[in-house]
Structure formats: structure tokens, C-alpha cells
């Protein structure tokens, strides 16, 4: 039997807050968290709510989460200052499969940069790294990595004007071989990356987002077809994606009602 002990929140104080841009803030905590890139924690702001966030910085003594201010909870989270008390549970989920000596491409869209950041730090210098966002203000960590990065924005305010898939396609068509492609961002973007990879027979891993409650595969809130996003995922590979009929199509609202993904996200971004 898996040896599971008390999983109540570990209460931590914000050690440092970094305003990444008008849209994002990173909260640092001095705590040693056993963790694998792609995993997430449940973050509780007492008196408020609890939501899943990926680990965006990680060292033996420190970790951080990066939050995009969207709804009630995330706006509260980015407003927290040094000393604020939050509870964390986890880490949960599977994380990315990492193959150190292979040739990889990492494709980040918007806030999808956050879970990929610690992955990028584990991959080789020859990794192709493509990062897109709505506009310049939504480019996370513009100066963070050693690896060279190709930027693109929807409005052309930073880097290439267009989509991350345009840049990935150029790379593939120029003859560049990839053993693995990692992607995180809006689901429609990940679906486009996945389709491109399928076309060129490149194994792909993407990280999905669904409404979550327990975080450990019991309550069913995050179910996507036959997959449990918090437990089987949030990272899914090509094999899983091929069978996942709800990928880029359906999601469950908080009530459990199944709706089209567009409705799910438009509703949430109100």
C-alpha cells in the first residue's frame, strides 16, 4: 500500500514577491519541496479559495508559483505581499517525462510558460524554445534562461507576429529533427502543436488544465473523458491524447456539467 501520511496544508509565508509584468506576479517560498517539472500544488488563501498552480521556480531551499491575474482568486493571489500566509498541498500529478540527451522543442503560450520553466532548465542547450503570447506584456520571464528563445506575439508587439505553431512548423520544415515536443498554453494552441507533431510523427507532451477539487484523483471534478487530469496528468503524451476525445473539445464546469471548451474558458475569464 502506498504510504500516505497527513496531507493537510503546509502553511508558508510569502518570502518574496516579484512583479513579472502588469499581468503576472511570482510568489517565492523558502521551503524544500520534492518536485518534478510539470507537477502542481493546491494553493489555499485562507478565507478565500484554493486553486491549482504549477511550480515555476525550484531549488533545494526555495520554490515559487507564477500567477496571471484573471478572476477573483488569482487577482487576490497577485496582490499578496511578503509575509502573507498561504497553505499548500501537494505536489500532485505526474510531471513531464524528461529525456536528457534528446533533441527537444519547448512551446510555451502565455501563462503556459510557468510549468515549462523548470523543464527548460533541465533540458540541453540545443533545445528549440518557442514562446508566444497575446502581446509584450504577457511574455513571462523575458530574461530568465540561458537557452535561446524565439518570441512571437499575436499583435507583433514583441518578436514575430503570429503563432507559435508557425515558428515550430518553420523549424520542422527546415529539416530540424525533434525527439520530443513539450507544450503548454491555451488548449487550442496545444491541440495545434499536437496536430503538427502527429503529422510529423514527433512524440508530444502537453499539460492540461481543468477545474480541480481534491487534486489526488478521487472527487472526479477534473475528469476529461476517461482521464483524471490531476492524477493521470496534468501532462499527457501523444498516446493518451489520441484516445482523449474531450481534448480541445469539452470540459466540466464546477457543477459537473459538460460544456464546450470555449464556453468553459469564456465563462471562467469573466
Amino acid at each position: 500500500m502506498e504510504n500516505i501520511t497527513d496531507q493537510r496544508h503546509i502553511m508558508l509565508r510569502v518570502e518574496e514577491k516579484r512583479r513579472e509584468s502588469p499581468a503576472f506576479a511570482t510568489l517565492f517560498f523558502d521551503y524544500c519541496l520534492a518536485f518534478k517539472p510539470g507537477q502542481f500544488i493546491m494553493v489555499w488563501i485562507p478565507g478565500m479559495d484554493e486553486k491549482p498552480y504549477t511550480i515555476s521556480y525550484h531549488s533545494k531551499t526555495r520554490f515559487a508559483i507564477t500567477i496571471e491575474a484573471k478572476g477573483l482568486f488569482s487577482r487576490k493571489a497577485v496582490s499578496l505581499d511578503k509575509g502573507a500566509l498561504v497553505g499548500i498541498r501537494g505536489p500532485f500529478g505526474n510531471g513531464f517525462d524528461i529525456y536528457p540527451d534528446s533533441s527537444a522543442a519547448v512551446i510555451a503560450g502565455g501563462c503556459g510558460m510557468a510549468p515549462l520553466a523548470t523543464l527548460v532548465e533541465k533540458l540541453g542547450k540545443n533545445t528549440v524554445f518557442i514562446h508566444g503570447a497575446r502581446s509584450k506584456d504577457y511574455i513571462l520571464y523575458p530574461d530568465r534562461f540561458d537557452i535561446q528563445r524565439q518570441f512571437c506575439t499575436d499583435d507583433g508587439s514583441f518578436g514575430y507576429k503570429g503563432f507559435v505553431t508557425d515558428l515550430l512548423k518553420q523549424q520542422i520544415e527546415s529539416g530540424r529533427q525533434f525527439d520530443h515536443v513539450y507544450a503548454c498554453g491555451p488548449e487550442i494552441m496545444m491541440a495545434a502543436v499536437f496536430d503538427l507533431c502527429e503529422e510529423h510523427h514527433i512524440p508530444c507532451q502537453v499539460s492540461l488544465e481543468r477545474y480541480m477539487r481534491c487534486g489526488f484523483g478521487v472527487c472526479g471534478a477534473c475528469v476529461c473523458g476517461s482521464q483524471i487530469v490531476c492524477k493521470d496528468g496534468p501532462v499527457f503524451n501523444s498516446t493518451a491524447l489520441r484516445d482523449m476525445v474531450d481534448f480541445n473539445k469539452k470540459a466540466l464546469l464546477k457543477s459537473g456539467k459538460e460544456v464546450d471548451l470555449s464556453l468553459y474558458f469564456s465563462w471562467r475569464c469573466q
Binding site: 502506498e2 496531507q7 496544508h9 493546491m42 498541498r89 487534486g215 478521487v218 476517461s226 483524471i228
Partner: protein
């Protein structure tokens, strides 16, 4: 280890508890493929309901506390789900709840028309202001709601009971008198509370929550024991069942089938097959069978 339940042959005695994963046809099927013989949908309510804010489910190691708060799309908003379930390959229990006798009846009648194999009425959920519980602690209310629902359903009816009832045997008798075909026990125990001492406040957004998992097993065993003495109806026994030996124990208290919920957390999604195999192995080692051990604990005390 096939067993019959209300005329339906099952591959083994293992049941998926309501509210555990049962949110889509595909995941129910996956649970079935993982060794579970009979799967229960998440409880369906009269209206769309979001449930409570997080935190809603916390693992305490020896079990969990939850106040999910009966989220439901509402019985009228599940057409795709019913359609997908129409040509299913597995036996299904549809669990329902309401806030009044009328609501229970309305939901039950509609859900019955979608032809699940069984309907379970959740008269035991502690996690909401007004739903369910009252019907599970007062035998007069129990009788009223069970007989009202029985009148409108075309499939066998299971009543799911709460351990909070002062005399659970009496509640089971009220169910039997009102025409219920089986009893499912228990729903979560408590309610309990967990306070975070750093922030000095209850952890669950709803403050109180139901307890489940290994820590409630002795309560579940006692309840099933009392119900077995009180009624003739077949019992689905659950509450903390995590291993084959736990299952044998609750069968000896009187359960015909054995439900599993929280143990998915402790042993993974294949817990159903594991427990089924462990029951089988125990029976072989002891040269006995399910029919012989059911209610065995009653015989020893005469």
C-alpha cells in the same frame, strides 16, 4: 466470485461509491474495467449546483474529510451523459438527492426513465444546508421520502443511509416498510472539522465535512451489523473498505456487496481488482464462500 444483486448478476461484490470519480461515462467504464462490478454515478440533484468553494477535500492520512457540497449539473442538464450511458456495457446505479420529498420524486422519476440498473437515494449527505440528511435521521421522514420515490421509479431502489442516525436499524426498517429494495451504508461520518492553527480557521470552506476512509471503518461495520439485524434487505456495505480483509469484515457484519470510495486514493484506481482478488484469495485459503460468511458475526453471538 459472481454474485447476484436484486436479480442482476455481477462479476464480483465490488461497488464504486457515489461521488468518487463518477462524473462521466468514460471514467465509470474505466472503473468497471479496473475490477469494479457495479458503478455509481455522482449524486444528481434537482438544479444546477456548483457545490462549495475549495478547500473541499483534504486527506488526513487515515482517511479524508470532504465538503464538496453536492455539485450537480441538475437532472435536466445531462442529456449527453444519458445518451452516452444508453448503450453501456456495465451495470449502473444512479444516485439522486433533493431538498424536499417533491424534489426527490421529480428527480427520481426522470432519472428512472433513463434506465439505470438501480436508483440510489442519497438521504444522508451532510455537506449541504438543506439536502438529504433530515430524511436519513428521522424514520417518519425516511418512510415518507422512500415511499414517494418508490411510487415513481421503474427500477430497484436502494436507500443510502447516514451513520448519524441515532438508531440506524430503525431507519433501515422504515426504508424496508416504504418499499426500498436494498440498503447502502454508510455515507460519510461526522461531520468533523479541521482547524489550521496558523491561520486560526477551519480548513474546509464549508467549515464542517464528512469523514471517510479507514478511520470510519469501525462505524461502518457497526452500522451494517445493526441494519442486518433490523431488515431482510440486501446491504451494500461501505466506509473505509481498503483491503480484502476489510471487505470480508463488513461482509461478516452482513453486507452482500462492498462499496469502495476513498481507497482509490490509498491504493490507486485498480483498488477494485486488488480487493476483489484479495477477497477471493481469502475465501480460497479458508475454504469458504461469500454465502457462508455473510452475516457470520451474528451467528457467533446467537
Amino acid at each position: 466470485m459472481t454474485i447476484e444483486f436484486l436479480g442482476k448478476p455481477l462479476k464480483n461484490p465490488i461497488v464504486l461509491a457515489s461521488g468518487i470519480l463518477g462524473n462521466s461515462r468514460d471514467i465509470l467504464e474505466r472503473v468497471y474495467m479496473n475490477g469494479c462490478a457495479l458503478v455509481t454515478m455522482k449524486s444528481i440533484g434537482p438544479e444546477p449546483r456548483d457545490g462549495h468553494k475549495n478547500p473541499t477535500v483534504i486527506d488526513l492520512g487515515h482517511g479524508m474529510i470532504n465538503a464538496v457540497g453536492l455539485p450537480s449539473p441538475g437532472y435536466l442538464n445531462m442529456e449527453n451523459e444519458w445518451l452516452a450511458l444508453e448503450n453501456r456495457s456495465f451495470p449502473l446505479i444512479a444516485s439522486i438527492y433533493g431538498g424536499s420529498v417533491h424534489e426527490y420524486q421529480m428527480v427520481a422519476e426522470y432519472v428512472s426513465s433513463k434506465q439505470p440498473d438501480f436508483i440510489e437515494i442519497n438521504i444522508s449527505c451532510p455537506n449541504s444546508e438543506k439536502h438529504g440528511m433530515i430524511f436519513g435521521v428521522n424514520p417518519v421522514s425516511t418512510h415518507e421520502v422512500v415511499s414517494a420515490v418508490k411510487k415513481v421509479v421503474q427500477v430497484p431502489l436502494i436507500a443510502k443511509l447516514t451513520p448519524q442516525a441515532p438508531d440506524i436499524g430503525e431507519i433501515a426498517r422504515a426504508c424496508e416498510d416504504a418499499g426500498a429494495d436494498a440498503i447502502c451504508a454508510i455515507n460519510t461520518a461526522g461531520p468533523g472539522m479541521v482547524i489550521d492553527i496558523e491561520s486560526r480557521q477551519p480548513v474546509l470552506a464549508f467549515k464542517k465535512g464528512g469523514l471517510s476512509g479507514p478511520m470510519i471503518k469501525p462505524i461502518a461495520v457497526r452500522c451494517v451489523f445493526d441494519i442486518f439485524q433490523a431488515v431482510k434487505l440486501p446491504i451494500i456495505g461501505l466506509g473505509g473498505i481498503t483491503t480484502g480483509k476489510d471487505a470480508i469484515e463488513i461482509i461478516m457484519a452482513g453486507a452482500r456487496l462492498v462499496g469502495i470510495g476513498s481507497a482509490v486514493r490509498y491504493r490507486g484506481l485498480d483498488v477494485f481488482q486488488k480487493v476483489a482478488d484479495e477477497i477471493h484469495q481469502w475465501l480460497v485459503e479458508h475454504n469458504t464462500c461469500l454465502d457462508d460468511i455473510r452475516g457470520a458475526a451474528h451467528r457467533s453471538i446467537g
